[in-house]
Every structure is written in C-alpha cells, then in structure tokens.
C-alpha cells in the first residue's frame, strides 16, 4: 500500500489545483455568504471569551451580556488553581485515551469476525449490540452503579473506562462491520492463497484498509468520551478522580456562579478537543458520512 501511495498523491494534488483555479473566480459569493455565517457561528465562543476576561464585580454590576469594561485574568488563575481544572484534564485525557484505544481494538476484532466469518446468528448479534446503543443511558444509571459496586470497581477510573468501552462498542462495531463487509473479496482470496491465516489477514489486510474509518471513529469517540458527564458522575465519587466535565460543573456555584471562572474553565477544557479536531479534521468530515456509503 505504502509503495503505491507516493505516485498517486502528486497527480491528485495537481488535478485538484487545476480544478481549483477556475472555481476561485466564482467563489467570492460563497465567501460573501459564508463569512457572516462563520462569524455568527463563532459568536458564542467570543461571548465566552469576553466573559472569561472580565472581573466578577464587573459581571455582577453590569450583567453577563455587557461588553467588557474590565480586564482580568483572575478567571483563568482561579480555574487552574482552586478549580483543579488541570488535574481533571489529566483524568479526562487518561480515561479518553484508554477508552478510545480499547473500544476500537475490541470493536474492530468483533466487526472483522462478524463481517467475514459465517458465525451463526451474526445478524442478531450485531443488531443486539446496536440495540443496546438505542437505550437512553439514563435508564441504565442505577444498574451500572449497582454493578460497579457489586464487582468492587466503583469509584475507579478503570470502571469508567470499562463503562465507556461497553457503551461505545456496539456502535463502533456496527460502523466497522459495514465498512469491512464492503472490502473486496478478491483481496481476501489473494491473501489466503498467499498463505495468510485469519489473524494475518486481520492484521495485514483488514486493519490497514480500515484505517480511514478507524481514524474517523477515533475522532468521534474521543470527543464523545471526553465530553461525557453522565457516566463519570455515576461511576466516580472521589473529587480527585473527576474528569474535566465534572470539574467544570463544580466551578458553577449552587446559588451564585463566578461566571468568569466558569467561562475560563470552559475555554481551557475545550483546548484538547479542539486539538483533536484540527488533527483529525479530514476524518471528522468523513466520520459524519460513516455508514452513508456502506
């Protein structure tokens, strides 16, 4: 695969360049329409930024919506020190990394087996896995709390990883199953003729070919797990193990909220997901189409 790739890319790039030039002449109208839409889209973030750099007294005296009349980095300082945002970010990163890795590893194996072997009742297995995803998580909160309690892993980050893997795996398997089933049979026959066993085919053929869909799922799973709150609150109860989402809630007061601290904490919390997004931008877009071209 890698040996084939280099000669292809320049020609594609060249073709794209050639095509892009005539389009560029027509595109101003697209930009005229898109720039205001983009600004509108960015306005909530700008609003949060404005709140984050104001002092509490300014917000209390003039309201949340007013333009900044003060500049202070107190919000960021408080969020990072008293709010424990950094520690919580660390927890989130660890949990997310393990959960994404494990769920993709397990679901790719499952999808390979379900799509390429005549397992009895595989359709039922797949649909059961998917059906689990259709249940609203809220009705499973109490059972999950009771189960983690019963097997003695309650209040550990391991439990959170297991729960995340358990609830993600159905959807990931379903998507990967669709993708792996569409791989041409000829590739498998050729590999088998060359003496590759099922494990070899998975490792050397299926996984490399599934890389685009794996990357797309990894990008989606990272944001889902990173932004999860409900499972974290169900499984964990020690503050030092809380992920960033729970820490942000703690920044909010019961009766009175220091909005500048909350806004600053939210901005800090958004950085890792933003990094993941920019790294996997292409996969995100294809991830949205996952399953559409099955």
């Amino acid at each position: 695969m890698t040996t084939l790739a280099p000669p292809v890319t320049p020609s594609v790039a060249a073709r794209r360049n050639r095509r892009r030039r005539p389009r560029a002449a027509r595109s101003p109208w697209l930009h005229v329409a898109m720039i205001p839409v983009t600004l509108l889209w960015l306005s909530p973030i700008v609003f949060v930024l404005f709140v984050a750099i104001r002092s509490y007294d300014d917000i209390a005296a003039r309201g949340l919506g007013a333009l900044p009349a003060s500049f202070s980095t107190d919000g960021f300082a408080t969020a990072l020190t008293d709010g424990g945002v950094l520690e919580a970010l660390g927890n989130s990163v660890v949990v997310t990394a393990w959960a994404v890795f494990l769920s993709l590893a397990l679901s790719s194996v499952a999808a390979y087996a379900l799509s390429r072997f005549a397992i009895p009742g595989r359709r039922t297995i797949l649909l059961t896995m998917l059906a689990g995803n259709l249940l609203p998580p809220q009705i499973l909160l109490v059972p999950v709390a009771a189960i983690t309690e019963a097997i003695g892993i309650a209040d550990t980050r391991t439990a959170l990883v297991i729960v995340q893997v358990g609830f993600g795996i159905g959807f990931y398997t379903f998507v990967l199953h669709g993708f792996m089933r569409s791989l041409p049979t000829e590739v498998f026959e050729a590999a088998r003729l060359d003496g590759a066993g099922p494990g070899g085919i998975f490792w050397r053929i299926v996984l490399p070919l599934s890389r685009p869909s794996l990357a797309a799922l990894a990008a989606l799973a990272t944001t889902w797990i990173f932004n999860d709150l409900i499972w974290a609150m169900t499984v964990l109860r020690t503050e030092s193990k809380f992920p960033i989402t729970a820490a942000l809630l703690n920044l909010q007061g019961g009766f009175a909220s220091a909005w500048n601290v909350v806004a600053a904490g939210s901005l800090i919390a958004a950085i890792p997901t933003a990094i993941v997004f920019f790294m996997f931008q292409k996969q995100f877009v294809s991830g949205l189409l996952v399953g559409a071209n099955k």
């Binding site: 209390a60 309690e149 009175a256 220091a258």
Partner: protein, 435 residues
C-alpha cells in the same frame, strides 16, 4: 510479489506485539481492579479514623472555609469530595446505598433527610444531641427538624440562612422611599417606584423557576399561617382550596410590580438590575449578597414581608443546612467524631467568618459580635419570629417542587387562568403524594 514479502516479514513480530500489548493492557486493567478493591477493604477494616466527607458545597468561599476546617480536624484523615449540587442530588441515593458509603454527607434538614432515615440509610446521631454532645444546646426547633419519625436524631444542622425582601439603602435614599411596615405601605411603595419608572421587584425564573415559590410560601405564611402551609405541603389540604385561592389573589396583585424580564433571568442575573438601580427589591435568601459586586454588599439591607393577616403567628423561612452520616459506612465512630467537630461552636464561627456568606450559626454558643450588621439583623429576625419554615421543596419534596414550578410559572404568565391552573396543580400534586 515484492509487496507480499514486504508485508509478511515484519508481520510476525507485529502480531506478537499486538498480542503482547493486549495481554499487558488486560493485565493492567485487572491489576487496577484488584488494587482498588483490596485497598478499599483494607482501609475500612483497619479503622484508622479515615473518613470521607461528601459534600455539595460549590461556592468558592464556603468551599475554601470547609476545606480549612477539615484540614484542621485533629481526629484523623478526612477526604473531602465536592460534587456539584444537582449531580449530588441525583447521586445521593447511590452514595447512601453503596456498600462503602462516604461516612459524612452534607445535605438539607427536614423531609428529605427523614425519607432517607425511613429507608434505614442514615446513622443515628442522637449521642450528639444528648448530655454534653455538640448539638445538645441547639434550639428545640432545630431538634425537631433533625428528628426522624421514630424520635431519633439523624441530622446535624450547622448553619442556616433567612429569606427576606432585600434592597439597597443608597437606592431607597435616592428615590426618597422608606422600607414599609404594613402590607398597604408595601403596595404604596411599589406604586411609588413604578411611577418613578423603576421595577419595584426583581426575580429570576429562567433556570431557577423555584424562585417563584418564594413569594408563594411567604404569602401563604402571611395569609394562612405556618401551620396551614406545612399541612398544605404535606398533602392535607388541596391546592385549589379557597385558602390557596386567597393566596393567589394576593400574588396576582403583585404581578404588575415584577421586572418584565424576570422569566429570562436566573436568580443570579436578577440581581444585576438591582445593582444598576433599575429595580428595587428582591425577595430571596441571604445568599443574595454574593450576587452583588463587592463594593455594594455593605449597602444591602432587608425587611421582612409585612403582615397581611394579623391573626396568624409570624413566620419566616430559614432553610437549614448541615450534615448526616451514612448507615452503610465502615467508620461510624469516625463519622460521629467528625460531625461533633463540625457542629461545635468554634467550627461554626470559623466557617461563617471565612465563608463570607450570610449564614447564621445553629449553635447558641457562637460569639456573633464579630459578624456583619446584616447577619446580626438576620439573627434577630429569626429569634423574634414565632414560626420557622424551610422552603417549599425542603418542607415537601423535590417532586412537589416541580409541580409548583410548573403551576407558578404558568400563573405568572397567565394569571387570568388561576382557577384552572390550581386545579391542574392539585392533580399533579395528588400524583406526587400517591407515588
């Protein structure tokens, strides 16, 4: 062909790597499970005095004050976990039912604590209320509030706050008005302020719809009295009774005086027009002080909602906060020790001073002379009143609060449909009491 060889050669080692990686990962996970179970069990069995304090305190200053208190605790290690109030509320049952429950938890006195006690989830803390225990000198009202159906004490109240109509002294001076002493004067004051183009009252109902119950509670306390109010919330009267209709008629007269934007404000946002002198008064809890910029907090003052029906005893709302202990925890003695420490007069005094909030101590032995004039006035208000209630949800349940939120929000938007709204409220309340 060359492609095949390049793939197959490193393949073997890669497969081994993968297998090794999976085994390692699984082993790590297993080890983590085992590690935590044995760790938890060992810590409990040894009974080293290690105690977990699960609390729902979110505000920065009170949280720091509690942390300082806990750090100074001489009786052993305390792990303090703060969880956002709404999440804490949702998880509280799980915490209490857990086999290794946190020893001490913060929550509200009253019916909520009692319903957990009925399920046998709370530790009997009566030793603290007897002899020279930390709570022995607390008032009878507090003792009653902390006692379950069987007569055991299951709650340790450590602070409370009061509700009143708050206003800014400087603003009242600017507008040339005085705090009212009678219900007619209150209406005259509202008329006067409206005439000056000022919204007489502010409120915040958007994400805090329960704020609408503040006026309902007070009008019911003033029109029908505390006894009727408690019975109503316990399901002994109907929400479409003529007594409640009288209350709603009074409420209806107030509607034109509220800030027109109150449905889009939260309870916190609602203080902003007051900070800018665009609205004048706010019926709310003493936590309102933290809504204002630092330099306006000393300007705040309050008056009690004036008497409407002078044949009913005076009453004020004073929600009580404190701690209870889980029956399922490993370290009952540790829990009682920590509760004694938190309830002591010295701890209460330190907490109130450091938390910078307008909380009142529950212990009669606290030296209050150093507290702010506002807090002193709050203490006087509560010690001169004949009856004390909590707040709608604390006197009933969160489920009944939800019916009140629906009914009162609708009533404020369409007061002309008051009768049908009260009928629906009663139906919803019957559903809550039946469940």
């Amino acid at each position: 062909m060359s492609q095949r060889t390049t793939i197959s050669r490193p393949g073997l080692t890669r497969r081994e790597l993968l297998a090794g990686g999976v085994t390692l990962g699984a082993a790590g996970l297993l080890a983590a499970c085992v590690g935590t179970t044995s760790g938890g069990g060992g810590g409990g069995g040894a009974s080293t005095g290690a105690v977990t304090l699960q609390n729902s305190i979110q505000e920065a200053d009170p949280k720091a004050a509690l942390e300082a208190l806990v750090k100074a605790y001489p009786g052993g290690d305390v792990t303090m976990n703060s969880v956002a109030t709404e999440q804490f509320r949702a998880q509280l049952t799980n915490y209490l039912r857990s086999g290794d429950a946190p020893e001490v938890l913060s929550w509200y006195a009253g019916s909520v604590a009692r319903s957990y006690a009925e399920e046998g989830l709370l530790l009997d803390v009566s030793p603290l209320w007897e002899g020279d225990g930390a709570c022995a000198g607390f008032s009878d009202a507090l003792r009653g509030l902390s006692t379950d159906a069987e007569g055991k004490q299951i709650f340790v109240p450590t602070s409370y706050y009061w509700w009143s109509v708050f206003y800014k002294k400087s603003a009242f001076e600017k507008w040339g008005v005085e705090p009212p002493t009678s219900w007619d004067e209150f209406h005259a004051l509202c008329e006067n302020l409206s005439g000056q183009g000022i919204a007489p009252m502010t409120n915040g109902l958007s994400s805090t719809p329960w704020m609408a119950s503040g006026w309902f509670d007070y009008l019911n306390l003033r029109v029908n009295g505390a006894q009727y109010h408690r019975e109503l919330l316990a399901g002994e009267h109907a929400f479409n009774d003529p007594e409640v209709v009288d209350v709603m008629e009074e409420y209806k007269r107030l509607i034109p005086y509220f800030d027109k934007n109150m449905v889009s404000y939260t309870s916190q946002d609602a203080a902003t027009p007051m900070a800018q002198d665009e609205s004048a008064m706010y019926l709310t809890g003493a936590f309102v002080t933290s809504y204002f910029p630092e330099d306006q907090r000393d300007d705040l003052d309050f008056f009690s909602v004036p008497v409407i029906n002078d044949s009913v005893p005076t009453a004020e709302e004073a929600p009580t906060d404190g701690f209870f202990a889980a029956a399922n925890s490993d370290n009952h003695q540790g829990a009682l020790d920590l509760l004694s420490y938190l309830a002591s007069a010295e701890s209460q005094q330190q907490y109130i001073e450091e938390s910078k909030s307008s909380n009142l101590p529950t212990s009669p032995d606290v030296d209050t002379s150093s507290f702010s004039p506002l807090v002193q006035k709050g203490i006087e208000l509560l010690s001169n009143t004949e009856e004390i209630t909590q707040f709608f949800n604390r006197d009933s349940s969160d489920a009944l609060q939800a019916t009140a939120d629906t009914a009162l929000t609708r009533f404020l938007a369409e007061p002309e449909n008051m009768k049908s709204i009260l009928d629906e409220w009663q139906t919803a309340a019957e559903g809550v009491f039946a469940s």
